[in-house]
C-alpha cells in the first residue's frame, strides 16, 4: 500500500543557551505511514515526537533528510490541502467563538456559503460542541478546546490526520468519544498519525507503532509483531489454604482475610497450583493471565534506549 507519509533519515538540531551549543534532537528518523492505518508514535518527553511533527508540517526546517506527503514534497500546498493537524496543547484564537473559529479555518480552505455552514454544523455535532457554538474559546475548558481542535483538523475532510496527544486533558468519557471518532475516521478510509502518552489507547486503536527515544526510532512495526502473545505471568486468587501451603508455587502478593493473591511466573506452575488447591480442598476465585502489553514493551525499550 502507498505510503501517505514517508520520512527518510531526518535530522534536526537546535542551538541552545547564551553561548549557543548545538543540540541534536532528531538523529536520523526513518518511518513510513501506510494509507488507511492508525500509526502510533510513542516516546518519553523530549524524545523528539513533536519535533518530528513540526518538521512534517513545515513549522521547522530539517537539517537533513526528506519528508514526503502523498508523494509530494511536504511543504507543497497540494500536500497540505489533504492533511489535518491537532497540536499538543490546544493553542487557538481565544477571542473567537467556536463557530467563528471553524469559519476562519473553513475559509482558508476556500469553503463558502451553505456548504461551509453545513460542514460547521456537522463538525460541531460530531465533537459534541453544538451548545458551545456562540461561546468564545477563552471560556472553553481544556477538554472542549481539544474537541474544537479536532473539529478544525477535520474542516477540510483530510485524508491524513496528525494528532498530537489528542486524548490529553479529557475525562474517561471524553477519551472514549475521541477514540471512537479516530476509529470511525479509519473506517472512513483516513490515515491517522497519533502521538500519545496514553499507551492503553494506542494499544487499543493503533495498527502500527514506532517508539522514539533520544531522537532515534528504536522499534517500529505492526502491534502484533512487537508484542508477544506469550504469558508473562498469571495472577491467581485462592482461599482455603495457608500461605505455607503455597510455598514454592509463586510470589504471594497480598492476603485479605482468607483470600491469597499469588503471582505465578511459569505457565506450567498453574497446573501444579490447581492440583494443590484441590488437594487442600481450597477454592480458586480467579485466574488472570497477563500477556505482554505495549506499556511493558515501551518501558523496556526506553530503558534500553
Amino acid at each position: 500500500m502507498a505510503a501517505v507519509l514517508q520520512i527518510d533519515d531526518l535530522h534536526k538540531s537546535f542551538h541552545v543557551g547564551f553561548i549557543p551549543r548545538r543540540r541534536e534532537i532528531l538523529k536520523g528518523i526513518t518511518l513510513a505511514v501506510s494509507q488507511g492505518s492508525i500509526f502510533g508514535y510513542l516516546g518519553p518527553n523530549g524524545a523528539g515526537k513533536t519535533t518530528t511533527l513540526k518538521c512534517v508540517l513545515g513549522l521547522i526546517f530539517p537539517d537533513k533528510g526528506s519528508i514526503r506527503l502523498f508523494d509530494h514534497p511536504h511543504l507543497s500546498l497540494r500536500a497540505k490541502e489533504r492533511i489535518g493537524y491537532l497540536p499538543e496543547n490546544p493553542y487557538f484564537y481565544d477571542y473567537l467563538t467556536a463557530e467563528e473559529f471553524l469559519n476562519f479555518y473553513g475559509q482558508l480552505f476556500g469553503l463558502k456559503g451553505r456548504l461551509k455552514a453545513e460542514k460547521i454544523d456537522r463538525l460541531l455535532a460530531r465533537v459534541g460542541l453544538e451548545r458551545a457554538r456562540h461561546l468564545q474559546l477563552r471560556k472553553f475548558s481544556r477538554g472542549m478546546l481539544q474537541r474544537i481542535g479536532l473539529a478544525q483538523a477535520l474542516i477540510n475532510d483530510p485524508d491524513f490526520l496528525l494528532l498530537d496527544e489528542p486524548l490529553g486533558g479529557l475525562d474517561p468519557l471524553g477519551r472514549k468519544e475521541i477514540r471512537d471518532i479516530i476509529v470511525q475516521l479509519k473506517q472512513e478510509g483516513k490515515t491517522v498519525f497519533l502521538c500519545s502518552h496514553i499507551l492503553q489507547d494506542i494499544e487499543m486503536i493503533c495498527d502500527r507503532v514506532a517508539i522514539i527515544v533520544g531522537g532515534r526510532i528504536i522499534s517500529q512495526g505492526a502491534l502484533p509483531e512487537l508484542i508477544s502473545e506469550k504469558i508473562l505471568f498469571a495472577e491467581v486468587t485462592v482461599s482455603g489454604l495457608a500461605p505455607s501451603d503455597l510455598e514454592g508455587m509463586g510470589e504471594i502478593l497480598s492476603t485479605r482475610g482468607d483470600k491469597i493473591l499469588l503471582k505465578i511466573f511459569r505457565e506450567e506452575d498453574v497446573d501444579g497450583l490447581v492440583a494443590r488447591v484441590q488437594q487442600n480442598k481450597g477454592r480458586i476465585h480467579s485466574l488472570v493471565p497477563r500477556t505482554e502489553t505495549l506499556e511493558d514493551l515501551f518501558v523496556e525499550m526506553v530503558k534500553q534506549g
Partner: protein, 254 residues
C-alpha cells in the same frame, strides 16, 4: 482569498483588543482638548484646532500601529496559534501580508473615526470644512502604513517591548533625519560628505509625509511633492515587508 481571510481575522483580533479602545479614548480626549486649547490661545483659534487635531491623529495613529503591530506576529508565535495556521495550505508570506493588511484596515477605520471627530469639532467652531485637511490625513495614513510594516518586521524576530522601542526609534529618526540635508550641504565634498549622504539615503525620511504645516497655514503645495511622497511611501513599505517576509520565511517555530 487566504490573505483576505487572515486580514479580516486580524481586524477582528485588533478590534477585540482593549488597547485599541484605550488609545482611541485618549485620541478623542486629545482632539476635544484642541478646542479648549484654542480658547486659551491668542491668535487664530482655527489654526490651533487644526494643528492639535492633525498632530493627535498622527501620534495616536502611530501608537496604534506600533503597539498593536508589534504584538500581532509575536503573539501568534508566542501563543503558538501559528502552529495550526501554518499547517493549513497557506504560504508564510501570505500569513504576513494578511496580518499587515488586517492592521492597515484597522488603522483605516480608526483614522476615519478620529478624522470624523476632528472635522466635527472644527465644523462646530468655524462652520466650514476644508477638503485640504483630508489630504494631510491621507499622508498621515500613508506614513502609518509604513510604520505598520516596520512594526511587523521587528515583530518577526523580537519581543513586543523591543519591537516597540525599535519601531518608535524608527519613527523618531524618520522625523529628524531631514536635518541631515542642510548639514550635507555645509560639509565640504569628501569622505565625510559621502558618508552623510549614504546615511541620509538609508535612514527613513518621514517628513516626506508631513503636509500638516502647509495645510494648516494654507500654503500651496506642488502636486509633484504628493506624487513623490506617495511613491516613497509605497517603495519603502514594500521594501520593509519584503525584508520581513525574508526573515519570516526562514524562521523555525519551536
Amino acid at each position: 482569498m487566504k490573505i483576505r481571510t487572515i486580514a479580516l481575522n486580524t481586524l477582528k483580533e485588533a478590534i477585540r483588543d482593549r488597547i485599541l479602545y484605550l488609545l482611541f479614548f485618549f485620541a478623542a480626549v486629545s482632539l476635544i482638548s484642541s478646542r479648549v486649547l484654542a480658547l486659551l490661545t491668542v491668535g487664530d483659534r482655527v489654526k490651533i484646532i487644526k494643528d492639535v487635531g492633525l498632530a493627535s491623529i498622527s501620534i495616536f495613529g502611530m501608537l496604534m500601529a506600533i503597539l498593536i503591530g508589534t504584538g500581532l506576529v509575536y503573539k501568534e508565535i508566542d501563543k503558538k496559534t501559528i502552529f495550526t495556521l501554518l499547517s493549513k495550505p497557506i504560504e508564510r508570506w501570505e500569513f504576513l501580508v494578511g496580518k499587515f493588511f488586517g492592521l492597515v484596515l484597522t488603522l483605516f477605520i480608526m483614522i476615519t473615526l478620529m478624522t470624523l471627530i476632528f472635522l466635527v469639532i472644527l465644523f462646530l467652531h468655524s462652520f466650514r470644512v476644508e477638503g485640504r485637511l483630508l489630504l494631510a490625513v491621507l499622508f498621515i495614513f500613508i506614513e502609518l502604513i509604513l510604520i505598520t510594516a516596520v512594526a511587523i518586521l521587528f515583530s518577526c524576530f523580537s519581543t513586543p517591548i523591543l519591537s516597540s522601542i525599535f519601531s518608535l526609534s524608527f519613527y523618531v529618526i524618520g522625523h529628524l533625519s531631514w536635518g541631515l540635508e542642510p548639514l550635507i550641504r555645509r560639509v565640504r565634498p569628501g569622505v565625510a560628505r559621502s558618508a552623510l549622504q549614504v546615511l541620509y539615503t538609508l535612514l527613513p525620511d518621514l517628513e516626506n509625509f508631513n503636509f500638516k504645516t502647509e495645510v494648516v497655514h494654507g500654503l500651496t503645495i506642488e502636486p509633484r511633492f504628493f506624487i513623490y511622497s506617495a511613491f516613497y511611501g509605497l517603495v519603502y513599505t514594500v521594501f520593509v515587508l519584503f525584508l520581513a517576509v525574508l526573515i519570516f520565511k526562514k524562521r523555525d517555530f519551536i
